[in-house]
């Protein structure tokens, strides 16, 4: 079914998996909370540091020239002056160092003897310092999946970035709660593979990390960067894939996109074009549009912006050409424009249309002296940005002559990729002089070797037998963020383990699918829910209803939910009274039908008792009371 053979196009994929650790504190300060509500704000700007060569990374320079004012949201419990970059980092969390070493050892990676914390320059605001603190803890090793082995390049320990909350033209907004949370990065070597296999590799690595029981679980705690290349193309990095089940789709899309860029390169050469054909000065054609009715252009003209046209020699027909679904060169160019702050881009293959008339197109073509084979771009926005964008777009066309350009892309929710920014130059890294090197003794390594977890598969089998779970349920609960509370409840209550596991996986998933935010469900809530059940205060039938009320935020806790539904369980005594009352009220029916009246009576009792008591109990009490009544009658 695939549109390509992975081997024929030379598909190579390298995975970098970033996994949050559930250490007691952050990596370089002793903040304990990794998620928070925000009570303060702060504004900062970052400027690129100058290197010895006087050069600044073009992407970094562009970020700076945007004159971005970054707003940080500050939580009281989740961040301190370290996150604000108003205090030097404290010593490194040794728990995090040990955990990352254990993960490395589980992958047969060689621990580094002396760890050196580095600063990696990042000036998009995601780190208040302007750099990410990161260190390599071990090198080499291999990941074994059920049917292959993938070499490990290195294991890194690093601080997580601040949480992006909003991004608009001149403002960017981050939450500081996530900044500084320890992350382990496992970088796998690029291997020749298939999209499906990559997904399996990612699952295997995720499971290996979870088997340590030292990593965070659940959505957002694991992210992957995927490096994808094909023959004759440069490496494209797709950054921040959060859903593993999208990996296969993303790699399929990216392979097709890259393949069509290679084909485009041949087409450009066939048309007799050379990169130097794309160094044109844009023309200001704002005057041509003064009477235009196009709403987009109107807005532009109102705000005193400009419309520029750029000649694209012999590119007619290429911009809209779609070899594979959703892969068009015109879109690649629009993405570049957007990076430089220009959202209004139209090209000659799509106009006339979009409110631009054929007369206007004719005028543009005249003004630019175009012949029929030539195409052009229309860009609208501020003058300064237009010049930069026009230059960058033409550079992008020039790089099409070598096929696939190296760039950083992001995943879309439907499994495609979009341009984010050019691939930064070689990483700008220098030592974090605020933190002395950390010696890893052979004694410590030997100690940690004893903590290498048993394989995931072994742990699942143990789960199945210890808690009497189905394999599916065992995997689901083991991989979920509720694993610890599950074990606690399964070991300390009389509630069947399978009920706890099913509730925490299937029921919660169903509620999540129904659009409820299941992340607000805390271990404390879960504990109180099952203790209440264990004490006979509610029946298991009431669980979904209680959870729903909590997740809808209609109540704050389990007690309030019970009160709200009027769900206090029937004590045996009350149930007994209820059964007696129903029997008394239905004397005629009982006289007439005898024991056959049971199902009718059962229905009546349950309409009152549902959710407050187990049906089996009702049935047995009703049966014995009914029998008593009938035998009395017979006497």
């Amino acid at each position: 079914m695939s549109l390509f053979e992975p081997e024929e196009i030379g598909l190579k994929v390298g995975l970098e998996i970033h996994q949050q650790l559930n250490t007691p504190t952050k990596l370089f300060c002793r903040c304990k909370k990794f998620e928070d509500s925000f009570v303060n704000t702060m504004y900062r700007t970052l400027r690129p540091t100058q290197s010895e060569l006087g050069k600044i990374d073009p992407a970094a320079r562009f970020e700076f020239e945007k004159n971005l004012r970054i707003k940080y949201e500050i939580g009281e419990n989740s961040s301190c002056l370290v996150e604000l970059d108003d205090e030097p980092p404290h010593s490194i969390s040794m728990e995090a160092v040990k955990t990352s070493l254990i993960i490395g050892l589980a992958l047969s990676s060689n621990p580094i003897n002396e760890l050196h914390v580095m600063r990696k320059i990042v000036i998009d605001g995601s780190n208040t310092t302007g750099f990410q603190r990161t260190l390599v803890v071990s090198t080499g090793g291999e990941l074994k999946t059920s049917n292959r082995s993938v070499p490990v390049q290195a294991i890194f320990l690093e601080e997580d970035a601040a949480r992006l909350l909003g991004d608009s033209k001149n403002k960017r907004n981050y939450g500081l709660d996530r900044l500084g949370v320890p992350l382990v990065e496992v970088a796998l070597a690029p291997v020749t593979t298939t999209p499906k296999e990559v997904q399996e590799i990612a699952y295997a690595l995720g499971r290996l990390m979870r088997s340590t029981r030292l990593v965070s679980r659940g959505l957002g705690t694991i992210r992957q960067d995927v490096n994808i290349s094909i023959f004759d193309g440069k490496v494209v990095e797709v950054k921040g894939v959060q859903r593993l089940d999208l990996l296969e789709k993303i790699i399929n899309f990216e392979a097709l996109r890259q393949k069509s860029l290679i084909n485009l390169k041949d087409e450009l050469i066939n048309r007799g074009l050379i990169p130097e054909d794309f160094q044109n000065k844009p023309s200001d054609i704002t005057a041509l549009f003064q009477k235009n009715n196009n709403t987009i252009l109107k807005k532009v003209l109102k705000k005193d912006m400009k419309i520029y046209a750029v000649k694209l020699k012999k590119l007619s027909g290429i911009l809209s050409f779609e070899e594979f679904s959703d892969v068009r060169f015109g879109r690649e160019l629009a993405d570049v424009a957007r990076f430089y702050g220009i959202s209004g881009l139209l090209h000659s293959d799509e106009i006339p249309g979009h409110g631009v008339t054929s007369i206007e197109v004719k005028k543009i073509r005249q003004k630019l002296h175009l012949n029929e084979l030539d195409g052009f771009l229309l860009l609208s926005g501020e003058k300064g940005k237009l010049e930069k964008a026009s230059e960058a777009i033409q550079k992008r066309i020039q790089s099409a002559f070598s096929g696939v350009p190296a760039e950083t892309r992001g995943p879309t929710p439907d499994g495609k990729t979009r341009f984010i920014r050019p691939r930064p130059g070689s990483a700008r890294m220098y030592p974090e002089t605020d933190i002395p090197p950390i010696t890893i003794s052979s004694k410590l390594v030997n100690e940690l070797k004893r903590n290498i977890p048993r394989p995931w598969e072994e742990q699942i089998l143990e789960y199945i037998s210890k808690f009497s779970l189905s394999r599916k349920l065992a995997i689901q609960i083991y991989d979920s963020s509720f694993i610890d509370i599950f074990e606690e409840l399964a070991n300390t209550t009389n509630v069947p383990s399978s009920l706890i596991a099913a509730t925490l996986t299937e029921t919660v998933v169903n509620l999540s699918r129904a659009g409820l935010d299941t992340t607000i469900l805390t271990a404390a809530m879960v504990k109180s829910l099952f203790t209440t059940l264990d004490n006979g205060i509610v029946s298991k039938e009431a669980i979904p209803q209680i959870l729903e009320l909590i997740l809808k935020r209609e109540v704050k806790n389990v007690e309030e939910a019970i009160e709200k539904i009027g769900l206090t369980a029937l004590t045996d005594n009350k149930l007994f009274v209820l059964v007696k009352t129903i029997i008394d009220e239905n004397r005629e029916l009982i006289d007439e039908k005898g024991i056959a009246s049971f199902s009718n009576l059962m229905g009546q009792v349950m309409s009152d008792a549902r959710g407050r008591v187990d049906g089996k109990k009702v049935s047995s009490i009703l049966k014995s009371e009914l029998n008593k009544t009938l035998s009395l009658d017979n006497k």
């Binding site: 970052l46 290197s51 060569l53 220098y430």
Partner: protein, 446 residues
């Protein structure tokens, strides 16, 4: 000859035997396989059991010498091709500002190959790194000293003061002094007394976060200082530092009323008991006061830059031993400033020692360890006793400012009596006449 900076002992021997130098690209064979990278310098305080290399992915790692089988040179280090920045075009219509360097880093370059951080101070460098300063003034940099501010002493105050006078006489419209933050408040007080009625404003500037990080506060502080030195209408000495934790406001503090009140926050500097003189925000300078002497006024510019080093600043505390005072007197000290408790009190077992000190001709002044507020030696008996002994109450003068002032007064006066008169005189706004309510809140600027 090998260059293996920072290495010693075992690691030094290993490297010199292998004939490799810092920056060389080498192959290190260990019993866990080979690692390639550039040899990095080692910090002096680190052990001699590891060598550090930068791998091609940019990461540094330390390799234990015990596990190293061999080190092979692959390529020698190549010399960096440094491109000096262009000479900027100065706008002749703008005021001329001199920036005197004393060691506070306001700009630097990072060498990503070795991790070295190189402070930059030439005019060209400064324009290249912080181009915004060119909007407000024609800048000329004047390197003077290169020392950490904790090593600055009264001799340096003298050197800085004389250099400032020289630049003022050469016609600069404003003087900026780049200074480390630790003792910047002391230097600003010293210059305030040494250069009273300066015809142009003098502003000290520093940074709380180092310039090798993109988040450094240095650039904004410098821009704020340059803008303010050209725009505030006053004579005098000031300190320009962040007005809040935001990168938006630079506060301009009076040189005698400013104090570093936090070890690391960028808004560590605060004006005590008074509002800052001005704020720089959104490219504008907002002046908040009128009651300061104007620049280029008819007031005589008095240069008195001598300082007496034998003056002590002593904080009183419960169980304080009066022998400390005796010791100072015996050592030939000429003055003592006390940080007394509350309104300016000391335990009574000190009285005799203080009486001896005063009789031997020492100046003894009283400030309060409360930082905010003024001393008053007439409210309680203990205060009145100290007054009677001859202790000089120093009003609401900051303890550090009072120390510097006494050093200056003793350094420039012909007699102890004249120095005492100088202590009472309000030379540079070190005394405030009024204690106004809750000005501290003004720091919550965004």
């Amino acid at each position: 000859m090998t260059d293996i900076q920072g290495y010693k002992g075992v690691s030094y021997n290993l490297l010199s035997k292998s004939k490799v130098s810092i920056g060389d690209f080498i192959d290190v064979k260990t019993n866990n396989g080979s690692i390639q990278g550039s040899l990095m310098p080692r910090y002096e305080y680190a052990d001699d059991q590891h060598i550090v290399i930068k791998m091609s992915n940019g990461y540094n790692v330390g390799l234990r010498t015990k596990k190293i089988i061999s080190i092979k040179l692959i390529t020698k280090r190549s010399a960096p091709s440094f491109q000096p920045p262009k000479t900027p075009k100065l706008d002749p219509k703008l005021p001329k500002v001199a920036i005197i360097g004393t060691g506070g880093t306001i700009a630097s370059r990072v060498d990503y190959r070795t991790g070295g951080v190189h402070p930059q101070f030439s005019t060209n460098e400064l324009y290249a790194i912080v181009p915004e300063i060119g909007k407000y003034a024609q800048i000329h940099t004047k390197p003077l000293l290169n020392i950490y501010s904790e090593h600055i002493n009264a001799d340096h105050w003298n050197i800085i003061a004389e250099k400032t006078v020289k630049e003022i006489t050469e016609g600069f419209d404003g003087i900026i002094i780049a200074h480390g933050t630790d003792t910047m408040g002391y230097t600003s007080a010293a210059l305030s007394f040494a250069l009273s009625n300066s015809p142009v404003p003098i502003i000290l500037v520093g940074s709380q976060r180092s310039t090798d990080r993109p988040s450094s506060d240095a650039a904004l502080n410098l821009i704020g200082a340059v803008a303010s030195v050209t725009r505030i209408p006053f004579s005098g000495v000031y300190v320009a530092m962040h007005g809040s934790v935001n990168d938006s406001t630079v506060a301009i503090h009076r040189g005698t009323r400013v104090r570093k009140n936090h070890t690391s926050r960028r808004d560590a500097f605060q004006s005590i008991d008074v509002s800052p003189v001005a704020f720089f925000k959104d490219e504008k300078v907002e002046v908040l006061t009128e009651d300061l002497p104007l620049k280029n006024s008819s007031l005589q510019f008095k240069v008195r830059c001598q300082f007496e080093k034998d003056v002590a600043l002593i904080k009183f505390y419960p169980s304080f031993n009066y022998k400390l005072i005796d010791h100072l007197v015996d050592s030939g000290y000429r003055g003592i400033v006390f940080e007394g408790t509350g309104l300016g009190h000391l335990g009574e077992d000190c009285y005799q020692s203080i009486d001896d000190a005063v009789k031997k001709g020492l100046l003894v002044g009283m400030t309060s360890q409360c930082i905010w507020g003024r001393v008053n030696l007439t409210v309680y008996d203990s205060g009145r006793d100290l007054l009677k002994i001859g202790v000089i109450p120093l009003g609401d003068m900051l303890p550090e400012t009072a120390l510097v002032k006494m050093m200056w007064a003793l350094g420039n006066a012909q007699s102890g009596k004249e120095a005492e008169i100088l202590m009472h005189e309000n030379i540079a706004g070190e005394y405030l006449e009024r204690s106004t309510f809750e000005r501290r809140k003004k720091y919550e600027f965004i």
